[in-house]
Symmetry: C2
Subunit: 536 residues, 2 copies
């Protein structure tokens, strides 16, 4: 498929947000993204949305909702595929701008374009497959005694307009065109994104790609808006708007909980899917340490320092039994960390926060600093940290398990495997837990698995938590405070379920039934008929 | 299958709660159920749980959790089936006691035993079918470029111990052995029920049936507890207990919102599934009124006064276009209502509340009383009410759409179908909406359907909302304030999903994987493999 050149979105930055498809300059305070490597402000200037802009974006989203949710799922699939197309076309400009705004390496950002477009295509495929409708049919039983049974059918419908708050650390895959937007659009929910102020230009380019695709595929005006503003003002107004029916968020615990409170205090409370913080414990089992301590050390530091440690799934906690093998691991980690030159962090503010958090944890009485990275060349670079603490001390001081957003990790040295289990029991909810095993560890790992499973969204063996595969089986979520809703994932095809709710239809004439439930199964989708799954 | 007589639970009442399987007398204030027909206290006396009883019930539930969730789903299915068996065996005693405590007719309560046991058996069948596991497998792709794909598998796991608060109006089907308990146990969650003080004896008998089944089928101690107490004390402590991971509730909006607040203010917030209030709008389309106004009137009053109007799905609102056909309907309804002798309400307090609510709505300036039932013989009986208001007045006064829990309904007289649509747009979230149509109404009904769909959990045509079928396709839920979580249903087999969350397993050796995800598919369940549904 080719796009007429006339429809290709421009890659010039105009410094605007978009209220529906209309570029709007904003009348609030000026804001600019910053080159984190130099601390310099970047052109163009953007301006915060006026309250009337937020209001109008929500109104347009509400007005678009009925038409959008009534589109054939294949039409929405094509919309998503065309977004992916335009992002690919704009790839070079997107990567260049995102590199300028985030300091993330070009190769990493090129990979992120692929991840983002792959994600959009996954949701397109999910829409066509059709299980997401949750279609169920319990046919009438007119002769049942003592009472006849009505014909009852059920499907899932979209919640309504969704507000999305993107993350700083993935300026595409978890931002404007990221998983929250893609899954909400797939569900049939119009989306209003509040752009992250750290990558406003990248956000504008991504919005242009989405709007071009919306226009090409005949989606209703208002199906997507991009707002510029701050969390306290624009963000709170957006979450409080009565037309918004759900919120997707990836970011800090403080911001996530503020949005959750705002959503709960509405006259009509709405669900908030906030993915907030996680230290992603890694358990090194004795057999694994005995067999490959040095290799594990190298891999661990690679995962720890990847992207400046600015991953939600960064391995911020290592748990192992003390002894000679752990000493080998620790010494090797120290050597790697000490030669790490640090990375420019996403924003000067994140760099400052990271220094504070690392200082706070390092300064706890029981914490021993094992190694620090080299003093970085610039103020906005993060310095890696590897510290250690005993199991007893870790369990006695909840501050030590707080996330440090950056390349910092704490080793918990345990007396024995029983204490490893106790440390695991003391953990808050997490996105991931990792276990490194040798064959000889499998019995003990089996006992550990149920403990980990209760506290996390994903358990992995003999790998590293950074790198979240976008597929059907992925869970990027987990018990509080990793997220505000452990029943959901923000990555993978089942992320679409966050924005749906069931409706039952009783004795509705076939011609009036939604297509997924009509007798002829015009969408050809899997359905559960009288409890039995049929493939459609 | 027969039960040894020795194991059959006694139907004598001891006046105890159960902390795990242990009968506990309670040391708090005395409480007794009341015969609502006479206002007399009933024997035996019960006592509120001490805080230590609540604590211990939660501790036992937590201790039971890992063993319980590890049971084969077929074992849990057998547990549920044995509960159904014991309820059936105890049916006569249950019905007699429930009749004494609630004033509900014996035939209705006999039907409720059947509904409750049918519901337990539905969840047993659901457990065996296996789709509830949500099993997904994305096999490894070791040769994928640029990076190999790990083996990732996902299933749903139970949340943990669940607190259940039963309703007064269904002393079995929405109480101790009701849908919340059955679906939580099916999910693998231990359950702690706070008994409704209006039917303590019925609760004790039902708890005995559950505990007998637990013992017979080898379920762990603590899988079920029954507590006696009040909402403010025992209930709040239960919801605040750190081991409780979800709450099921059916009852008033005030109580539901109080529990929701308590759950949100925990250090670790938890989901609350509260089914609270609904006026269940019924739209009478012009063709339907023209053809069968009198028949509709009779059926409507039957649904309105069923069980003293004490149904969550009671038709508390009728919407229609004014004119001669509506006058025929109104006159016929008035005749039926005026000869209605009223029913004893569930509790003296509910009768008082109902009188107040009916007086409040009747007293609103724009509300015209069309008919009242006969002055009832006793103070605890409810007097039916049928009132009317114009569409304009209805939309101007939100108080008029508040639930009156009893046989009261308000007719909204609209100028035309456009105003019917406006009235529908002004409605809060509801459990149900009903449309009565003739063939000539189908075009207009089609336009109304999306408006109704957005506001309700179930839309039905040409029937009455009372009577909630327990099946696979049922949705008994709806947007706030009908419930606190529009994404869920409290009736039907998908109610089990409320108590589950997804976990992904990455590169875990087959022998350590949970059975639903092992290569050999030992449970023989439907699974999604690389996105494609397989029937197992």
């Amino acid at each position: 498929m080719t796009t007429p050149i006339a429809q290709a979105p421009t890659t010039e930055l105009a410094g605007t947000m978009f209220v529906g498809s209309e570029p709007v300059a904003g009348t609030g305070p000026e804001v600019r993204s910053v080159d984190p490597r130099t601390g310099e402000d970047l052109a163009p200037a953007y301006h915060f949305a006026a309250p009337s802009d937020v209001e109008r974006a929500c109104l347009l989203a509400e007005e678009a909702f009925d038409a959008f949710r009534s589109t054939h799922p294949w039409q929405r699939a094509r919309f998503l595929e065309r977004i992916a197309h335009h992002l690919t076309e704009a790839g070079e400009a997107l990567v260049a701008r995102a590199h300028l705004e985030t300091g993330l390496p070009v190769a990493r950002l090129q990979g992120e374009v692929g991840r983002t477009t792959g994600q959009l295509r996954l949701f397109a495929a999910t829409l066509c497959e059709g299980s997401w409708h949750g279609a169920r049919i319990d046919p009438a039983q007119p002769d049942r005694t003592p009472q006849p049974r009505a014909d009852i059918r059920r499907r899932l419908v979209p919640l309504g307009p969704v507000a999305v708050f993107g993350a700083s650390n993935f300026p595409l895959a978890f931002s404007v065109p990221g998983g929250d937007t893609a899954s909400a659009l797939a569900a049939g929910c119009p989306v209003v994104v509040k752009a992250h102020e750290a990558h406003l230009g990248t956000s504008e380019l991504a919005a242009r790609a989405i709007l071009a695709a919306a226009s090409e595929t005949g989606m209703p005006e208002g199906v997507f808006s991009l707002l510029v503003g701050d969390g306290a003002g624009t963000g709170t107004q957006l979450v409080g708007d009565p037309r918004v029916q759900a919120v997707g968020f990836t970011g800090s615990r403080t911001a996530g909980l503020a949005l959750t409170r705002a959503a709960a205090e509405r006259p009509q409370p709405i669900p908030v899917y906030a993915e907030m913080s996680s230290v992603n414990p890694v358990v090194l089992m004795p057999g694994a340490l005995a067999g490959r301590a040095e290799r594990l050390a190298g891999e661990f530091v690679g995962s720890l320092t990847l992207g400046g440690g600015q991953f939600c799934t960064n391995p911020g906690l290592v748990i192992a039994v003390e002894g000679g093998d752990l000493d080998v691991f620790t010494t090797a980690v120290a050597a790697h960390v000490e030669t790490d030159g640090g990375s420019t962090m996403l924003t000067p503010r994140i760099a400052r926060s990271y220094r504070q958090e690392a200082d706070t944890v390092s300064g706890r009485p029981a914490v021993e600093i094992i190694a620090r990275g080299a003093e970085p060349a610039t103020a906005s670079a993060g310095r890696a940290l590897f510290a250690a603490v005993t199991g007893d001390a870790f369990r006695a001081d909840p501050e030590i398990q707080r996330e440090m957003f950056g390349a910092a990790s704490v080793l918990v040295r345990c007396r024995d495997l029983a204490e490893v289990a106790d440390v695991v029991r003391s953990l808050e909810g997490q996105l991931t837990a990792t276990v490194h095993t040798a064959e000889s560890d499998l019995g003990d790992a089996r006992a550990l698995l149920p403990l980990l499973e209760r506290r996390v969204g994903r358990v992995l063996f003999n790998g590293w938590p950074t790198g979240v595969e976008v597929g059907h089986a992925m869970v990027h979520g987990g018990p509080y405070p990793a997220t505000t809703d452990a029943r959901s994932t923000s990555v993978g095809s089942s992320a679409v379920e966050r924005f749906l709710r069931p409706v039952a239809y009783q004795d509705i004439p076939d011609s009036l039934l939604p297509q997924p439930l009509q007798d002829g199964n015009p969408y050809g989708i899997p359905r559960r008929v009288d409890g039995t799954l049929t493939l459609g």
